[in-house]
């Protein structure tokens, strides 16, 4: 088990944003959290990343309790987590190379190894020619590839993706979905993906976690959740 979320609650102004969520994610699994805006899915992701702490419950990563009832036991930078954000969040004052290098340098990896890892990663996301480009000069799709590369280069235990494709047009969305699938399968990385788009969720997930009002409403494969939603609407 890579991630264990155990009866987690998070309140904002006494209103629960996460209301007793428990979820386990297995190694190399691709889990998609599906739900409307404000259902708590991004909050859940940020709790796992360590940006906010659960008011109740605990989060365990690789057998180590990282957060428990309001306390951060392991800082985000020590959790070995990668994250791709909805608004991409590439550092505008650094080149593509700088964006990929930042985390490696922070971990004191030697220059030769950094260069090698960056070259390999850029090749994987097919962005070799853009090493020295500035993020502002890249298209939306290219920026998203670099954001993905920046997260993956740190060889995280789990990759968190917060609606990474929601700002892209449909063609690009479909193309990048395929690439995310390919990369996840090639690298065997554990992935927790958050989206409000059912079609996107069903096409990417091994397991779909349906959320609403801060609670998990249904967990299952795409067919099961799809059927559940259909029954619900009838």
């Amino acid at each position: 088990m890579i991630v264990e979320i155990d009866n987690v609650f998070k309140y904002y102004n006494k209103i629960p944003a996460i209301n007793g969520v428990s979820l386990n994610i297995e190694k190399s699994e691709r889990v998609v959290v599906l739900g409307p805006s404000g259902c708590g899915k991004t909050t859940l992701l940020r709790i796992i990343a360590g940006f906010i702490q659960p008011d109740e419950g605990k989060v365990t990563i690789d057998g180590l309790v990282v957060a428990m009832t309001g306390r951060c036991l392991v800082e985000p930078e020590s959790r070995k987590i990668g994250m791709v954000f909805q608004d991409i969040a590439l550092w505008p004052h650094m080149s593509v190379y700088g964006n990929l290098e930042f985390g490696l340098r922070a971990k004191n990896i030697s220059r030769e190894k950094r260069n090698r890892l960056i070259d390999e990663m850029l090749e994987k996301v097919q962005m070799t020619h853009f090493k020295d480009a500035s993020p502002g000069d890249l298209s939306g799709g290219q920026q998203q590839r670099i954001a993905l590369a920046r997260a993956l280069i740190m060889q995280p235990r789990i990759l968190l993706m917060d609606e990474p494709l929601s700002n892209l047009d449909l063609d690009l969305n479909l193309l990048l979905r395929k690439e995310i699938l390919r990369m996840q399968e090639d690298l065997g990385i554990t992935m927790l993906y958050v989206t409000h788009d059912r079609e996107e969720a069903f096409s990417l997930a091994m397991r779909v976690v349906l959320m609403g009002h801060g609670r998990i409403q249904k967990i299952g494969n795409a067919d099961e959740v799809s059927k559940y939603l259909l029954d619900l609407s009838m």
Partner: protein, 521 residues
């Protein structure tokens, strides 16, 4: 059409009130006894003294900027972005020196470190002589000016830090600790904002007249004033003002070329700022910030309070300055109201690019803001000191013109930032159903920008109230304001009365802020 005319009138007034005096001054300086002559300029850099003044001005402003940024960036970060205890109190404390006229701080430090000051009283005349030597001249001027201008960097740091997209920091936080994230991500992202704050500090430092003049450090603004008021040498005063004008122009060009596009990238967001936990460093940093607050704020303000601690001092202070206090409040209120009107129209012009020359109008306003008050003062006198315009020259209007010219950019920029938060469609929705400009103005734009208008008024009030450079140059007889009164009484009045006047000045500056607090509670 009505909108166009309103904005054109605002730009026309900007040119007449602000730019025309500067041009008039320049033109006038080219004539001696009715003939074109460059003699004033020829003389300008022939003497060693002029070069020395230029060197002093640049050295002082450069050093102030360097130290202010060096202290202000970490301090601003600590106050805006960390869990430092009592940070709200510290923020209020550090902002006080910006509100207090700088030369009053100089007076307070004189009472503390002067030859017969508090320190001398405590540790003997030898120490007093040493502290006095420190205070008078470059180090003292630098020290007092740093304490006055530090809030500029702190406030701008807080503003820009609030605008950083928190995802940029979170993305970095996944692989690095806070120190590295701040050093490599947050601070570089707001670098244009830091550069802008450095520029503003430099502008305010190079134009400062009160502190160098009180602490006897010769710089160009003092030279202009002395040439003008002591020797009545208009041409020499103008010639001494020109190098400052040139430096101002250079600064303006730098701002236009490098900063304009970069600083407008920042948008006010509603996302909360990420607070950095200080953990083990907290006690050490708390102590360091407390020491700075003690030195820069508590000591000078405390000295003024202690020194003036007698009813007699306040009685006498009121007796000699009641009219000046009243005039100060009146002129600053009218000035601030004018700045709101100009700020609103020019801010609208800049943000909505409503006329082709929006940027030119902005450049004029920024140029005037950057120009030292003494220079604007000389300009106003050059233009309005004629028989036909005596009704302006000999009334409070000349002071108000000075305020408008110097501080218009503040209102313009605050209002432009406010307008950027108001969607164009708000006004367009009214326009499309046939609502005219005046109705849109009073029914849509003014109500939606109310907060910006109040902020402009307050900032305008504070700057007009504390102004010394312009008012000192242009005030007609019986029109002196409290800062001018204090400045002229300083040399030959009892210390406790001057201290009491300083305290009164601080209190009346805080008055509108306090009243606003009551209203908005």
């Amino acid at each position: 059409m009505a909108r166009r005319y309103t904005l054109l009138i605002a730009v026309f007034l900007l040119i007449v009130i602000g730019l025309a005096p500067v041009i008039a001054m320049f033109v006038k300086s080219l004539f001696i006894d009715g003939k074109i002559s460059l003699a004033s300029y020829g003389m300008l850099f022939q003497s060693k003294r002029e070069w020395q003044l230029l060197f002093n001005s640049l050295l002082l402003a450069g050093s102030i900027t360097f130290i202010t940024v060096l202290l202000g960036v970490p301090l601003g970060t600590l106050l805006a972005k960390t869990d430092l205890p009592l940070k709200r109190l510290f923020t209020i404390l550090f902002v006080i020196p910006l509100i207090v006229p700088p030369y009053i701080l100089a007076i307070a430090w004189f009472y503390c470190l002067g030859r017969s000051g508090i320190v001398a009283g405590m540790f003997g005349p030898k120490i007093g002589a040493a502290t006095s030597q420190f205070l008078f001249g470059f180090p003292g001027t630098l020290f007092v000016m740093v304490s006055t201008l530090l809030p500029v960097v702190i406030i701008l740091m807080a503003t820009y830090l609030r605008m950083v997209n928190q995802k940029l920091e979170e993305a970095a936080k996944l692989s690095a600790g806070w120190l590295l994230v701040l050093k490599r991500i947050t601070i570089p992202v707001i670098a244009p904002g830091i550069f802008l704050s450095a520029l503003i500090v430099f502008i305010l430092a190079i134009g400062e007249f009160g502190v160098p003049s009180s602490l006897r450090f010769d710089v160009f603004p003092v030279e202009s004033f002395v040439q003008f008021s002591a020797f009545y040498n208009f041409n020499a005063a103008t010639a001494a003002a020109i190098p400052l004008g040139v430096i101002t122009l250079v600064i303006l060009i730098v701002e236009r070329l490098f900063l304009r596009k970069k600083t407008v990238q920042f948008k006010i967001t509603k996302e909360p700022i990420i607070i950095v936990p200080l953990k083990k460093a907290k006690p050490f940093l708390f102590t360091a910030v407390s020491i700075l607050a003690f030195i820069f704020v508590i000591v000078p303000v405390g000295v003024l309070l202690i020194k003036s601690f007698s009813l007699r001092a306040y009685n006498e202070a009121f007796a000699i300055s009641t009219n000046s206090i009243f005039r100060s409040l009146l002129y600053a209120s009218i000035g601030a109201t004018c700045l709101v009107i100009f700020g609103f129209l020019l801010g609208y012009l800049l943000e909505r690019k409503a006329l082709r020359f929006s940027y030119a109008a902005d450049s004029i306003a920024v140029f005037l803001f950057a120009l030292p008050g003494t220079v604007i003062g000389i300009g106003l006198i050059s233009l309005w000191n004629t028989h036909a315009t005596n009704f302006i020259y000999a009334s409070m209007v000349i002071i108000l013109f000075g305020y408008i010219a110097q501080y218009m950019a503040l209102g313009e920029r605050i209002m432009a930032a406010t307008f950027s938060q108001v969607s164009h469609s708000m006004e367009e929705a009214a326009q499309i159903v046939g609502v005219g400009w005046v109705r849109r103005l009073f029914g849509i734009l003014i109500p939606l920008t109310k907060r910006g208008l109040i902020a402009t008024w307050l900032v305008g009030f504070i700057f007009c109230l504390r102004d010394l450079g312009i008012t000192m140059m242009v005030y007609p007889p019986d029109h002196d304001t409290l800062p001018v009164r204090i400045f002229t009484l300083m040399a030959n009045s009892p210390e406790e009365v001057i201290a009491a006047l300083g305290v009164i000045m601080v209190v009346i500056t805080f008055l509108p802020l306090y009243l606003l607090g009551l209203v908005t509670r």
